[in-house]
Symmetry: C2
Subunit: 287 residues, 2 copies
């Protein structure tokens, strides 16, 4: 593993490209809007004019793009990865996307003589920047083992979750747990404000006990300082929760709290708040 093609150089991707270069990988990049990648190009990443060029001649091709339809396009499109990557290449989708799409990619990759890993991440922009992402990987164990040095350049807590799609399924679990936790945090804060408590003192009082959570730690200070900028976009969280809800239904279970939290965020999105951070959920209530 030496030559990496990297597709999708957004907030997350950019930091991941930097960490790959720092670890000694040769990184070729493609992203929809070249101007957004100028900084990493000046730092040594090689620009490619299209997905095809970015996919050819690499040991691994990494994708981290926006939505399932974007993933479809870069893999299955006319100039897509599956058609143009060299035989033996590992294709790694790190977008949070549909587990069944990951399985489709895995199967198509196999036919094309490629190895596919679904490897969505958690840890946000900070984790990407500091190379401490949690990476949840599905696919063949052998392919995972081959990709491990690549993952280790970008993350810390790297787990092989089993067969293709299982990385995505595990990420769905992560988002489901977050949906519950963040709504609990927001409702606790809304309650505290409405009943006249010192909200900050309340948060400190409960943070170390049974109500403590990573969401409380990250979300409460932002809300208290009036910071509703996206660490994680509402519109992306909606995408994830929808995928999780659909997968759950297909698996025969109904996740009522997830559906409920999703419906609140969808209301907010309909009101034009999709580009705010997930902590803006308090605005759904009186805040």
């Amino acid at each position: 593993m030496k030559k990496i093609g990297f597709i999708g150089v957004g907030i997350m991707g950019k930091s991941m490209v930097r960490n790959l270069m720092k670890a000694g990988f040769e990184v070729a990049i493609y992203t929809r809007t070249k101007s957004k990648a100028e900084d990493v190009i000046s730092e040594g990443a090689v620009w490619c004019e299209d997905v095809k060029t970015c996919a050819r001649g690499r040991d691994a091709v990494i994708t981290i793009v926006g939505y399932p339809k974007d993933v479809e396009e870069v893999y299955f499109g006319e100039k897509g990865i599956l058609e143009h990557a060299d035989k033996g290449t590992c294709v790694i989708d790190m977008t949070t996307t549909s587990p069944r799409l990951s399985v489709r990619i895995y199967e198509a990759a196999k036919k094309a003589g490629l190895y596919a890993i679904d490897a969505p991440v958690t840890g946000g922009d900070t984790g990407a920047r500091e190379g401490t992402l949690t990476i949840l990987a599905g696919g063949d164990q052998e392919a995972f083992d081959r990709c491990l040095p690549v993952f280790e350049a970008m993350g810390k807590n790297i787990t092989y979750e089993g067969k293709a799609g299982n990385g995505q399924h595990t990420k769905m679990c992560n988002q489901i747990a977050i949906a519950g936790a963040i709504s609990g945090v927001c409702e606790a804060m809304v309650y505290a404000k409405a009943t006249g408590l010192d909200v900050s003192l309340m948060v400190d009082s409960i943070a170390t006990g049974a109500a403590g959570s990573a969401q409380l730690k990250s979300v409460a200070p932002r809300i208290l300082s009036g910071d509703f900028d996206p660490g994680f976009f509402i519109k992306h969280f909606i995408k994830d929760m929808k995928l999780a809800g659909e997968e759950a239904k297909d698996a025969g279970v109904n996740l009522g709290v997830l559906d409920y939290v999703l419906s609140m965020y969808e209301d907010m999105d309909a009101q034009g708040m999709g580009d705010l951070g997930t902590q803006a959920l308090v605005k759904y209530y009186q805040w």
Copy 2:
């Protein structure tokens, strides 16, 4: 502060009595069923035949009983604390109960020449045993300061939350945050099982990231080992969530996720599962 009257010697109360005695307080106790208190009596707690006797001649009277109606009875009943405690006594209700009941006790106590503190706790049976309870106190600052040595014998994270009722309000926030977190954890586990993941591996994979929580840490291992015994009873959690929902509505806010989680637990209670631990929420789904 030397002589303590302690009313309500259940799982929590018993450990608290032991820690008070260990810290050098003289503890007189009353609880509904004497036989349940024999062990702490043999360890030095003085048995009282009724609430009245337990309330008289003390520096502080602590109550930790089951439901608001029990609190009403021990404070406002015929042989109750408010009528029989010596002037100047601090009365401390550590039951999780209605904030407005705490305010009523506070006001009645004031008229009777007593000081009242509402001081519900978190940390469960383990926290009670180890003297590491989180104590959330409301009332007059002066009374809180006087009671601090008593609290320090039983807890670690002791916070003065402001005026009477604020201890209870803060505890409500704690329960609201837990309602969200525990439902997210259970739905994540249900999803994982339904989609064929290794549930234990999933839990480990997400525990250190943004989905991490005290609930995940405490609840997931119990569910995985099939342990649905109560650390915290569903029936008591229902009581707390009902109180929180009512208070929220009175304060003009509607907490939809809380109401939703409450309705699930109420369904379970109606099916005879109220004596299980809160982690049994997974049984609401397919598990």
